[in-house]
Structure formats: C-alpha cells, structure tokens
Symmetry: D2
Subunit: 344 residues, 4 copies
C-alpha cells in the first residue's frame, strides 16, 4: 500500500546509502571530528553564502530545537512561537524541560503575523509587572510551517527587524527547509534565510537523509562550549561522521535542492489530482504537505487503500487529513491517489 503519511517514511537517498557503504569499513574518528563533517560544513557555508557561518550537526528535529533554544536563551527568557508551532505542541514539552517557557502567539495558517509580534513586544515592556513574567528572548518560526505555508521574504524581513530592534535572535526551524525553498511560491534563497536569521537549521531527516539536521549559526554566535552542551543533552552522536557523510552528499551537486524540487513537483501533481476530484482543501499549501477535508464516514475505507495522517477534526462530520510528498514520492504513488474514490 502506498503511503503519504509523512516525509520520513523511507530510508535515505541512494547516493547517501552508497557513501555509507563505501566508507563502512574505514577507520573514523568519533564525535564529529572527521573530514566528512568538515567538508559538509564547508559546502553548507558556501550554499548559504555565509563564509563565517558555524555549522553543527544533530540527529533529529526536536533535539535540534531544544539544543539551540536552550543554549541561546538566558535564564530569565522564554521563546516566542505561534500556538501551532512544533515546539509548542508536538515536542512533549521538550523546551519546558530545559526550564524555558514557550510564549505562544496566535497563528495564521501556521504563521506568525509581524504586527502581532511587534504588539506583543511593545506591550510586554509597557507592563509595569513585566519583571514577574518570562522575558521574551528569541523568536522561533518554522518554515515551511506545520501547515505547509511559507513566509514571504518581506514578512521574514519584518520579523527579523523586530527581533533585532529588541536584540533577540531569530531562529528558523527548517525541518522541511528544502521543500520551502523549492516551492513555486518561494521568493527566498538559502542565502536570504542565512542573511535574515541569526540561527536556523537545514532539515535532513525529512529531505533525503536517514537522520540529521544541520544547524547554521550565522553571526559567529554559536554558544561557547557548544559540543559540551550537546553532549550534556545526550545529543552527541558517537559515529558523528554519519552526519557529515550525509550532509556532504546532500550538498554535493545540489542534491538537496534537486530532491526537494522533485517533492514539490509531486505535490503540485497531487494538488491537481485533488482538484480534479473536487476535494476541499483545508488551506492553500505551496509545499509538500497538503491538507484536505474528508467526510468522517469515508476515513476507514480510505485507510484501506492509502496511508495518510489524520490531522485534526474539522467539524462534527469532517476531518482534516494530511498527505505528504517527499524526495522519494513516485508517479506510481500518485497513480494510487488518482484511483481513490473520495471527497465527493
């Protein structure tokens, strides 16, 4: 049965697997002190147009969010995110586990509105009792968001300006960054992201790697003794070269971008199929996650034919469901969707 359950349902891109096989019996130095990591970091710096960037590899997305946020916040600070942000909902309280509050603002199809951020900051410091409240110390965005939506360059610029006027860093969670950058609606390059954000990560787990996320500190602002902080969180991979090898491959010959573009093409075809079937879209997503509304009574039948994710209740008799394409989606997979009968 085909699966559109998520973008982490398959192993690695074949080129990555080849590298793992080719180097499997070499001797490597552990914990990231290997030439593959060095090479991958250099390639990422180049791709970001940011020669001074400091790049660090971690295993997964929640781990990355936690490590970046908790090492960059000061004691009294919390992190601003929209209510639907991954860190606020689906990370089991991982940020709070590090002693910091997530300050939740309203979302608009998963996005933070720059003017609402500005209002929040201004009224925070206007409150005479603000010293009894968590100090906003960072802004967290996901791009694409949990709803597949994208910030425009202008929006990101505005948010960055607000952050910098309050002297707090802007952190962008790029678990699906490739799919965002290759979206037909994207008006930003990786270089733009690097210029506007103080720190962000390039997701590997969902874009062709077995696992791995590459954090990019763009302002020489990597926390001191970062390796120790990573180790302290149980997040330092012994065989760190596995991360280096994967990202080195992804950033050779534009592989990361090419496979992301493929996923977007597949998503566009998927949308076309849904349109033909006159499905109701929950929202307009320009990336690889598509949300449609289905009748509850159809769900069981659908589940027998394809794998997908139940997202959230829509109303009494309908549910929002998610279909996700990825670097690995094929035309055959799409054909299976075409043959489905639903969304009348």
């Amino acid at each position: 049965m085909v699966s559109f359950e998520s973008d982490y349902i398959m192993g690695a891109h074949p080129l990555i697997l080849q590298r793992l096989i080719a180097t499997n019996t070499d001797f490597h130095t552990g914990y990231g002190a290997d030439p593959y990591c060095e090479s991958a970091k250099e390639r990422i710096r180049e791709a970001c147009g940011c020669p001074d960037a400091e790049v660090e590899f971690l295993v997964g997305g929640t781990q990355t969010n936690v490590t970046v946020i908790s090492t960059m916040l000061s004691d009294s600070e919390g992190v601003i995110a929209v209510a639907t942000g991954h860190i606020n909902v689906h990370e089991a309280g991982a940020i709070e586990y590090t002693g910091h509050k997530v300050l939740a603002l309203p979302h608009h199809n998963g996005k933070l509105a720059p003017d609402e951020l500005e209002d929040f900051m201004a009224s925070f410091y206007a409150d005479s009792s603000y010293e009894h409240m968590v100090i906003p110390g960072m802004v967290y965005l996901s791009h694409p968001t949990e709803y597949g939506t994208l910030y425009t360059k202008e929006e990101l610029q505005k948010i960055a300006d607000i952050c910098h006027s309050y002297e707090i860093p802007l952190f962008l969670d790029g678990a699906r960054l490739g799919y965002g950058l290759m979206s037909l609606q994207s008006d930003m390059t990786l270089s733009d992201i690097a210029k506007l954000c103080d720190v962000f990560y390039i997701g590997g787990t969902k874009v062709g790697a077995l696992f791995g996320e590459a954090v990019v500190f763009t302002r020489q602002n990597r926390p001191r003794h970062f390796t120790t902080s990573v180790k302290k969180r149980g997040a330092l991979l012994a065989k760190g070269w596995l991360l280096g090898l994967q990202f080195d491959t992804l950033f050779t010959d534009d592989l990361y971008f090419n496979i992301s573009r493929h996923a977007i093409h597949m998503a566009e075809e998927l949308k076309e199929i849904f349109r033909e079937k006159e499905c109701a879209f929950y929202l307009e997503s320009p990336t690889n996650q598509q949300f449609i509304i289905v009748e509850n009574r159809q769900i069981e039948e659908l589940k027998k034919q394809v794998r997908f994710e139940l997202w959230e209740p829509y109303d009494e008799s309908h549910t929002v469901v998610r279909f996700v394409t990825s670097w690995a989606t094929t035309r055959e997979d799409l054909r299976a969707i075409k043959e489905l009968r639903f969304c009348v």
Copy 2:
C-alpha cells in the same frame, strides 16, 4: 497616602507580632521540627475537617505552586491552568523551570469552565499523536481567581469529578482563600475545599501573616521525602517555627476567618462607594479585589491621591485598575476613596 495596591502591603496581624515577640528569645529547633508547627498543623487539620491531612508550610505563593506542582507531576506530565492563571503569567516561568509545561485553557473572568476541561481531556486522548504531547497530569485552579471571582461548589465538584475520572489531582491555589471563603457569595466551607481538592494551600502572606502558606495534602498523598524536595528548591526556612507560630495564631479562635471577613466587609463598602461614584466595574467580583475602568487621562491625578494597581488596558482611552482590601483595611482608608473625584 492610603494604599489599595494589594493585600500584602502591611506587616502582620498584631496577634502574630505579639507571638513573635513573646518567643523571640526562646530556643527553637530549626527547619520546622518545632512544637508551633505541630500545633498549627493540628489546628489546620481540624479547621479542614480532615484529620488525616498532611500539612506543610512554605514561605511564598510561587514557591508553593512550584513545589506542589513539580513534586506531584510525573515526568511526562504538565499542569492545566487557565491562561490568566498566576502560574501561567506572573511567576516568571517558575513551573517551566521545573521542566513541566503549563497547558493553558481559556478563562472566563479568571475561571476554568468544567465542560471545556472535559472537552480538552477527551480530545487529548482521542488524538492519535498524543504521545508526542505533554500529558495533562494535574488541574490548577486559583480560588479566588486572579480576577477575584469564585467557583461555586457545583463547579468545583464538576472539575473534581473530571480530574478523578482521569486520575489526576486537583490543586487549588488559595493565596487568598480566606477572602474567598468569607465572601458573601461563597457557598463553600474550608471543609468543602478539603473534600473536593487533592491538595490546596491556605494563603498567609495576603491574609495576616508576614509570610507563609500552608499546603494541605488531603489524601495521604504528600510526595515521599517531601522535606528533601523542599530543601532541593531552596525553600526550607531555617527558622521554620516562624511559619508554625503564624499559622498557629491564625487558626486560633478563628482569627483567619475573622480577619478575612473584615476584608470582605471593607470590599463591600468599597464597591458601594464606587457605585455611588458611578464607576464602571470591569467585572463583578465578590471578594477583596475590585476592578474598575478609569479614563487614562485621570490616572496620573489619581496616583497622587491613592495607591492602586494598573491591571490591564481596557481600550484606547481606558484602563482597568485594581483596588484591594485586606485584613488591615480601615474605614479611614475607605474615606480617602470616598473623597476621590474620578470615574465620571
């Protein structure tokens, strides 16, 4: 200048001060292992009609919330509170500092709606990805709330029933419990509170003591090695008998209830004065905190005549302000309000 800024603007009730003076040069054993603590605990158990209750004393409200919540939650759990709950706003992220998320639900004049709690719990466990989310592990209520409002016995019973059906404890923050119990609208006794809650605290700081809160565990559910946990939070007072002495005095001859009733009488007179002045009440509060809406342009002038707290913006040109009575409020203080010219 008179002050209605809060209910912790004065020292202690004279009877408490007398006890401190009378025992000042006696030898006491430290850390709460003294006869005053024992006596106070016994008096509180009696007042609660709960002979098996375990009573513990702490210094302040945030400290108490943090200690109770973090020792009663399991690792994977968070605490449910309304968005305006003290732990969610004005404790500087103290709960999160212990590694637990505050799960914020909507408030209704500061109160949690039983049916919204029930919906939240039911839909939480209906969500297929709930294991990636913070498990709701406790319900926190403040009574009176931050807006001076009260739960009815029926409401509290409903909330307790929901908690118990999900096997999570109900914790009631009684920083101003006396003022709640003595409210003319209260339909609960201290005994009712003890029956319905798994743990609650009786506030001293705002009700006649120099400092001190008495936590009551009503189900033989005090966390094991609780003293060690208190010490671990830097919350174990060396001269612990000071807490015992104060609560022993407050729970002798109904002092706690009598001084609370006085504050309520003062609040009722204050409301009457405001009504005569045709002030706009922000909401109907049956306890010692009163919220009225004043024009922004009047605030500076008012500040010269009386102390009060700016609560929150109401609209472009108005602000909600708070006036608080306490055990120490006098008719002279009220007269000062009477003479004010405002709220036209």
Copy 3:
C-alpha cells in the same frame, strides 16, 4: 535547657524586632521596591567599600547559593567546591536541580587548597576529552567553612588569582561571614572580601536576622533580569521590605559586626571551658562553631542537659559533636556547659 545546636535557634536581634513593630502598619510597596531595601543596599555598599556593588536580598542560604550559581554559570559549566561544601552535601542536590554539576575537590578542614585548584584547572584543560566533561565555571568557597575554619587573605588572594586567570568568578558563601570577620584570627575586612570576590553573600539568618541573606555583586556583574530569575526560582519575597528593614538595622552603627564579635567572645570562652575539661577538639576552629570528640556512651546523658549537634562518627566508640555560639549566646548559657561532666 540551653542550646548550642546552631546559630539559628532564636528569633531576631531586639533592634530588628523593634523596627518590625514600628513599621508594621505602614503601607509598603512589595517585592523589594521600598526605601528600606534602598537604604540597606547603600549601607552595605559603604560597609564593603564598594560603591558600585549591586546588592540583592534573598530569604535563605540554599536559595541564595542556588540563585547565584545557576544564574552566573553558562550552560556547559559546573561549580567547583570542596567535597564538604554546603552545596555538595547539605542542600539536597539544589545545585544539580538547576542543571549544573558540583565538581568536588578534596577539603582540608573544610578548605580548598589553592594549589589543588590550580592543578585541577590545568589538568582539566590538558585532557583531550575535556569537551565531554563539565566545564569548571565558578569557584564556590564558604567562609567560614562548614568546619568553622577561615581562609587567610593570602589564600583567598591565590584562589582569586587562579579564578581570574581562567576567567571564572569566585563566589564566597558568607552564611556566617560576620563570625569569620570578627574571629581573632581573621586578617580580612569586609572590604577585602569585596575586593577579592566577584560575588559573595552576607548571611543574616545566622547573624541576628529572622531570615535574609544579602548578595553582593562586586563587578557590575549581576545577571541581567535578575529579579525575574529570582521570581522564577520562587525566591522573591512578597513583603520584601522585611529584608531591607533587617539589613538596614544590621548595618546601622556596626550592629552586624558587634553582635558577631560577641559570638566570637562567647566561642573563645566556650573553648576555654572545653580546654579546662580536657575535651579533645576535633580541629582548631577560630569561629563560632566548635567541634569536640565525645565518647558515644556519654551522648545520651549529655543530650539530657544541653542541645548540640551530632556532626559525624569519629571512630567506633567516639563521635564528633558540634557546639555553636551566636549573637544571642549568654554567659548563663556558658555556665550550663561548665557544669556538664563529660569528655574525660
């Protein structure tokens, strides 16, 4: 029965109690924003000869250690202390609760040896795997130590020099600072302490106050948003003026020093009594804590006549016990010791 159990067995110095009584019914602003705190801070700055010092008040010793250490350490860092240091033994793991390790070095009658500190630091950074270890980020000393012993000015200077060469702060726990400064063997003034340490605290709980410790940051190095961090730890006293009043009194007319000197005189007389009785001293303590070795079989009998603390086992048949004088010890109390029959 007289008690030499500790230096926190009585209430407050009468002058402090008088101030509490005199101001009990005044209106005060909460959380330390009151004139008494301001005045007390100014007096402490003067007494320290450190006009730029930032002074903050907290309630108790463990709370103070935790707040200072955890707000000054970076994420990857731990705090160096001797194995017998209060933070390593008798604070129930409060430092670890903030996520930081106590790096324990050997003690010498409670003291840290400067050369052992230097060796530790040098070999730490010589270890090729140091990034996998907790980075030493602060040195904690208690003065007097838990064994009543004192650092000489030369020793403290050496330790300060090592700290500064590694760019880590030196923190001195002065829970009993008065008794250290007034010791006949002290070669340091409060001013010396302020010059050598980056942060230290002046203990009130054990030196005449009901409770309270005054933290002094000597290098404009108070952590940012410190009040918020204090609140976050549940350590912000609502009626903060109580701390200001007490320290204002202690630092008026040299009260703090005078009552400390009294305790030292009492301790010297106590030592003389023990010498006359041919007691075996466990070590030579120049401050208000005295440690003698008694036969186990005498302990029960002694306990009937005087209160003291069992410190630690000495050998199979002997125990080290502690007798403590304080600002409140009287000649009558000493007389009771004189009449004891033990230590043969």
Copy 4:
C-alpha cells in the same frame, strides 16, 4: 593507519548494512511503531530469558543513561555510581542536567565494592540530617566498566541484594555488554544480567550497529508514558525502524554474541602481543579495552604508527594509554601492533 582508538570507529556489521539496503525504499511507520522494532524486542526478550521484559530503543549511550535514570528516580533522589563511572565523568553533566545528583563512591579498577555500597546506605540513613541530603535512589554500574573490568555473578548478586533491601533499582550500563558476556572470565549470561538487574541496556553502537542501544526493563517497571518522556528529551528517532532493523539483525543467529566473541579473541591476542613486548599493563582487563603504560617520550612516535587513546597520566614520565578491539578488528590490525617498537 590502523586504529585501536575505540570500538566505535567503523560503520555497521555487513549484515546490518544489507538489511538497511534491502528495506531502504519500503514504506515504514515512524517513531518505532514498525514490525522490525516489534521483532527485535521479541528476540531480545528471548535472549534475556525474560518474556515479560519491556524493551525500548534509543540512539546513544549518554542519551540512554539520562533517559533511564531521570525517569526512574523520584524528585528527591540521586543515583549512586563510582567516581570513574561514565555518568560521573564523561557525560558533560547530563544526569545533573535532569536535576539529579550523581552520588560518587570510590572505585576499584572501575568497580563498585558491595560492602562500600552497604556502608554508604547504612550510614546515610543513620545520619540525623539525611533529609537535607540527596536520597540515594538507584545504583548505576557499568559492565564492563570504563576500565574493561567485570563484576562476578557473586558481586552483582550482592549489589542487587543491597539495592533490593533498600528498595531502589539496580541499573546496568551495558554499552559494551557483548564484550563483557563473551569475556573468557565472564561467569554470567545475558539471562543472569536480566535476573539481577531491574533495568539495563544492551549496547549496539560499540557492538556492530551504526548506532542504537536497547533498554530492557525486567520487572514491568518501564516508567509510564515512556515514549512521551523519550520525546521530551529529544531522543525519539523519527525513523525508528532503523533501530529495530539493527537489533533484529544483531539478535538473529547469535550475531551479537558471535561478533562480541571475535572482539574478545582479538583482545586476547593483543594482550599476548603486549606481553611479548613486555609492556606494563595498567590493570588486568578481561574484555576488549586494554590499558598499558607507555613512556611519554614515545607517544609522539607511536601516534605516527597507530591510533589509540591517551587515557590518563600515570606518573611524571608515563601515561596510561588505551587500545580497544571490536567486532571489526582484524588480524591485519593486530599485525600492525606487533610491528610497533615501544614499551621497553
């Protein structure tokens, strides 16, 4: 250049790599809800002779120690380990980051002495101030230890008995468990380990896997909502089937034991080579880590010929160095050691 630097210098056993290749383009469900994990768990339960065991997979050793220890300790508790234990030295304070102290006892070639444990427990509870101290809540052992040494069955039984008499769990860190079980000196089977320990883990990272550790809870004592706690620590691998696949392979046809036995044979030959060269052994290690003492002046020359780890200074002119064999060590690798000239 050959490397004896550690047992995590190579990728995975070829059979594991084959499984990864064979399943790379299949659809898998994430987060461990896949048939490979189920199968692997069943095989491990069988290998442990413990049909009721609950098995969970994590990515790395520090992560595993942290997750197990912090979810099994109560708030007031710490974990006992020898001073040289991995959690006390080389995990960057990861345990303390979860709010719990490591209670360090002396080591004997890396091992905990049962009688010293018994003494510690007995004197802890005999101390009248124990409530101010961290409560010992678990015993952590590594087997093999960081020095390659092994507990005998009798020793482990004694330690288990002490733990059970104090009602605290015994946790065994088996990062190198295979090498311990296959040691010529081992008198224990995997089944014995499962019987004696309340929880332990079977290391994969150092024994043939790319990464992965299998935690075995032997008494139906897996903490509630364990998956949520894993997620909360950023430790839940998205492509969880990678862990299942690897352990399923390792526990098919005794692969785990066979490759561990190979490493032991290689270690025995390595020891023989060292003996022939008249090297001074630092201690007698019956497992795959060998420690010899070399002159400092030889180290630079040696480093040009083989990779190994500097362990610790021995004296002014000598250093302890570590050579490690693994499942991947070959006779060719040993030949390189044979040709070295050192240890005169």
